[in-house]
Symmetry: C2
Subunit: 346 residues, 2 copies
């Protein structure tokens, strides 16, 4: 039996065991374990020592049950989205130092948002952070009535009372991309959109207004796409075959953009020689040396930080009203954009 520091019987040591061992009351042991004030330095040391000896670990469940504060944030995320993975990473980074635990609940093809949220609720989370929720606004409203809810990357209008929104200024990002391409000399700039995906509407709108602002209304071209490589590839096929072919493409996101890149390369259309490609997100994907994608960067750590911060603020009663936090995107110029090879058509 390796490493068996437990109490006599096989069970996991409890606060009572610890208290007995240290020769104090359970109440005092509790005080020490949670770092509250009310214990002398001497006893504190003694209890801690005893805890180490018997390998005591507080029971999160029991602790949560008793204290009205659970310090638990429920996070719903899409298991297959790298973007969400990055966000979760950031959420851990902010929440744990702030003394909050994270309960993760995944959304998959077979496990809907409804189920994901239910398990979080059963776990007695104090607040919910939903990454790119697709649930109808009515459902979100209902949830927001029960506990603080933060929606990340989903733009809700009109604002839902009690629901915090944290998102990137998607329209602005699309505009930055268009500005960049126009500055390089492009005129025929197409957009592969994300359909109903969170943020897609704003990016589409941003693209349209930016094009208009540059007097390129007649060059506006939106091709139906999506948020995966396959959908990007499909759209790219359409663009590659079209006459005249645009000289630049703004894809809905990086995954979509890699699908586009792949099709162009295989079709013998050099990037950025014959056509420029811009992504969105600045995920790990875009940064890979061999993809080297010009993209609109979302400030993921900041989005994550804000989401946690908003949730905690609501819990502390620090903040009341409905709020929306909009984070500025920033263009990251890499190797997939360059001036068009031929003089732009009028």
């Amino acid at each position: 039996m390796p490493a068996t520091p437990a109490v006599p019987d096989g069970k996991r040591p409890t606060l009572a065991d610890l208290a007995t061992r240290a020769g104090v009351s359970t109440a005092l042991a509790s005080i020490v374990m949670r770092g509250a004030k009310g214990a002398s330095a001497a006893t504190r040391e003694r209890v801690l020592e005893a805890a180490r000896e018997i390998g005591y670990r507080p029971d999160a469940r029991a602790r949560l049950l008793r204290s009205h504060r659970s310090h638990l944030l429920g996070v719903q995320f899409g298991l297959q989205h790298p973007f969400h993975a990055d966000l979760v990473e950031g959420i851990y980074a902010t929440a744990e130092p702030a003394g909050y635990q994270i309960a993760l609940s995944a959304v998959t093809a077979e496990r809907g948002e409804q189920r994901a949220v239910e398990t979080l609720l059963d776990d007695r989370c104090e607040a919910l952070i939903l990454l790119g929720p697709q649930a109808p606004a009515s459902r979100l409203t209902e949830l927001a009535g029960q506990l603080p809810v933060v929606s990340v990357a989903r733009h809700l209008r009109p604002p839902v009372p009690g629901l915090e929104v944290v998102r990137t200024a998607d329209d602005k990002g699309a505009r930055q991309a268009v500005d960049h391409l126009v500055a390089l000399g492009h005129r025929a700039i197409a957009h592969i959109d994300g359909g109903k995906a969170p943020g897609a509407a704003d990016r589409r709108r941003g693209y349209r207004t930016a094009m208009s602002r540059h007097g390129l209304t007649e060059h506006i071209r939106v091709v139906p796409g999506g948020l995966t490589e396959a959908e990007g590839a499909e759209a790219a096929q359409v663009l590659a075959a079209s006459q005249p072919r645009p000289t630049a493409v703004l894809a809905f996101n990086d995954r979509c953009a890699t699908g586009v890149l792949d099709v162009f390369l295989r079709s013998g259309i050099p990037v950025p020689g014959a056509i420029s490609v811009v992504g969105f997100d600045d995920s790990h994907l875009a940064r890979l040396a061999h993809i080297d994608l010009t993209t609109v960067g979302q400030d993921i750590p900041r989005l994550a930080h804000l989401a946690v911060d908003r949730a905690i603020a609501r819990l502390d009663g620090r903040d009341t009203g409905t709020g929306e936090q909009v984070v500025a995107p920033h263009l990251v110029v890499r190797g997939t954009t360059a001036p068009p090879s031929t003089a732009p058509a009028t």
Copy 2:
């Protein structure tokens, strides 16, 4: 206040509220809610009705605290690994119908395995499922002494008592790939390995023995790689520049393989015209139409199912001794492999 079916005060309804409402004791209400026997059909209906009315949801924490069985499986996974995401998806699919809940704990750059496991332990999980754990064997041994532990995709030798292993026959998979390439007429087949990644050693070994068995010992060539696209790309640069160039490459996994593909395409080396590429995993990536990668498929749903099954078996005392479940891989032939263009050198 939309949808406010709660009890008078603002609190969430409790079992006692439900019992009062239905006119029964809390004990009986409990019986009904967990579907145990001991309640008549009439009261059962009445209680369920009342539960619906006040929107009662059992408190998972309290439930866990009281019942010695928590029916909670702790899962540690790498947030950035698509392969793990697929596994988690499969784990949900098996565990939830079996009446087990899943507690997720992510491993990230900043959050080590140690911390991930600690939180799972604090949540009073009954068993641990570790996806590709990197922790030292001593640590795993220690854990296995405390509760049932299942290691997925990590081959441990010698077997650790009390630790279940579920993995793919990586060596066999590598062999299948080599056999396929040899059957196509390839002789100069290189392998980009995965370094210290779980399974890498077995795949490397499988490649070596398969080559030897075909009398191609002198063509054995292992290039250091890794499990990401960037590492695959790097290795591909080395191969592309080498003289003579191999006519086929077996990459450590699909991500690695896509990095390889990308470099070859950019260098003007047609795939599979000039060189064939085989991946490993059969992740979503490989199936994308525009990548269309020949790869060694891991039976992810089966791995997930077995992992959960082993854990539950141990909990039910159905199974005692140390066990290892090895799942057979299967080659998935797609578009990145073809016969070599030139006659193979001797």
